[in-house]
Amino acid sequence: MHSIAFRRRAADRVTRVLFALSAIAVILPLFLIFFDLLWKGARELKWTLLADLPHPVGEPGGGIANGILGTLTIAGLAMAGGIPMAVMAGIYLAEYGRGKFASMVRFAVDMLAGVPSIIMGIFSYVLWVLPMKRFSAWAAASALAMIFIPIVVRTTEEMLKTVPASVREAALALGIERWKTTLFITVRTATAGIVTGILLAMARIIGETAPLLFTALGNQFWQTGLDQPIAAVPLQVFNYAISPYDDWHDKAWAGAVALIGMVLLISAGARYLTRVKK
């Protein structure tokens, strides 16, 4: 009997340690990645990174300023097109979406949300690059919008559904028209949540690289127009990383620090908003 009790207790101890170790193993890469980013990115992490154009190989200095502007441009375009569409579709699903059509839309949203981002790149390539015969900011933005839209439709629907029915009923009981109730009471109440969803989706598309490879293509110089190839930070990180030059590797790390800085800043904004709401 004694040995059975001992074995049971020992098994309990051992598994406890194993579970704790697995948690450590999960978190460890995060620290390693951030440590390496700061350590290896430090050499090129200076003000010129954010202000200068890329320099050719071997020439010291140079930055990713055109990439930052390009990333903001294509993400901005994607959001300008994506937000109205996604929020309106989300309103439809939350407020009117009970029929067969609505379940088809939900199915489409689920499907789009699971599509690998590189396939959105193919989509944009076929839709814009092939007929226009050139890579462009428009094509990149439409690929990013395809990633952005399903995320925002989902969060908008979920957030609107958290608004209690009593709020809508109170507004309707006061004789406010239904469309006004939806737009100025229900959506207004859920705004913080919807904006959080938009920011999280923005953080996601800012870091996307795969769909830009054959839509934005990248550009060594300042962008000249939205129908022209455009630079983006993730593309610069990728191209510097796979280059054979050491000083470009340093720039890849520095660019990665800038990229993750942008992503974390936006995510932190999203978290701050939800905190205010609570």
Partner: protein, 310 residues
């Protein structure tokens, strides 16, 4: 809510306007699928079903088969799951059942932060940190002692199926972890307390309760992680080695469906070459589609069973 939309023309107009945007989303999904199929047609017509089981990938001779890429995608994702599932489920159990209150939120937050890191940064870290470390500390010794096994055969280059699988595992852990935590949270508290009150240890409680309740849900979480791993592009492209061969050894370079699209799309000259790449995209699309909906279905039935108290 009690009024009908038809009572007021403005209400009707607003409803129809939102419906138009909802239809737009539906149309985009349809357009995506239709364009993929249309652009794949030349390759589908030329190679038929043999495309999926042909090993040659020769752009010069315009002879295309997707097998090496399908193989690479499946094997690297499988390696990722082998590593990620035990770690993710283990830490989900740790966070939900063992961790002191003050530790729960920070650990869960840090694990979630892994999901916020862009794929290209994982790839960068993979090239310059993970691959050299794996090569010198794991693959070289393993190949010299266990090299007689086909699975660990050298020569060791660094970029490999194993490196891709390990990097992928880090990337999919947060998804499996958060779904596993949700699954664990559906276990009725009474049942856990029942085991403990009968004198069971914590480990016995977990074993019994998980055996009873959580296996289907954890399976669903695994399939969800698989859906993520299959389509991951940049990180895999940067460490898998990009060689379209089918080699048994996980120390050898491979190629994946997403990686070949990423690498060769801009240089695809000729209609058939481009079409073959789009068809690989179509196959990847269908594969992730099936896997994602399988995961959703498993998790949904699991949740409804838990709601009924089974």
């Amino acid at each position: 809510m009690t009024r009908k939309a038809g009572d007021n023309p403005k209400d009707l107009l607003f409803e129809k306007t939102t419906a138009v945007f909802a239809f737009g989303v539906l149309f985009l999904a349809f357009l995506l699928f239709a364009l993929l199929v249309r652009e794949s047609l030349p390759a589908i017509r030329k190679f038929g079903a043999a495309f999926l089981v042909t090993k040659t990938w020769d752009p010069v001779a315009e002879s295309f088969g997707a097998l090496p890429f399908i193989y690479g995608t499946l094997v690297s994702s499988f390696i990722a799951l082998l590593i990620a599932v035990p770690l993710a489920v283990g830490s989900a159990i740790f966070i939900n059942e063992f961790a002191p209150e003050w530790l729960k939120t920070p650990v869960a937050f840090l694990a979630e932060l892994l999901a916020a890191i862009p794929s290209v940064i994982y790839g960068l870290w993979g090239i310059f940190v993970l691959v050299p470390v794996l090569r010198d500390w794991l693959m070289k010794p393993a190949a010299s002692y266990l090299g007689f096994l086909p699975l660990f055969k050298g020569p060791v280059y660094g970029p490999s199926m194993l490196a891709a699988g390990m990097l992928l595992s880090i990337m999919i852990i947060p998804f499996i972890l958060s779904v596993s935590r949700e699954v664990l949270a559906t276990v009725p508290r009474l049942q856990k307390e029942a085991v403990l009150s009968l004198g069971g240890t914590h480990w016995e409680m977990i074993r019994i309760v998980i055996g009873q309740h959580c296996i289907p849900g954890i399976f669903g979480a695994t399939i969800l992680g698989l859906g993520r791993a299959l389509g991951e592009t940049m990180a895999v492209t940067m460490v898998i080695g990009n060689r379209p061969d089918i080699l048994l050894s996980i120390f050898q370079p491979g190629y994946s469906m997403a990686a070949v699209i990423a690498n060769e799309f801009t240089e695809a000259t000729g209609e058939l070459y481009l079409s073959a790449l789009v068809e690989i995209g179509l196959v990847l699309f269908l594969l992730t589609f099936v896997v994602n909906f399988a995961a959703k279905w498993i998790l949904k039935t699991m949740v409804s069973r838990a709601a009924r108290g089974l």
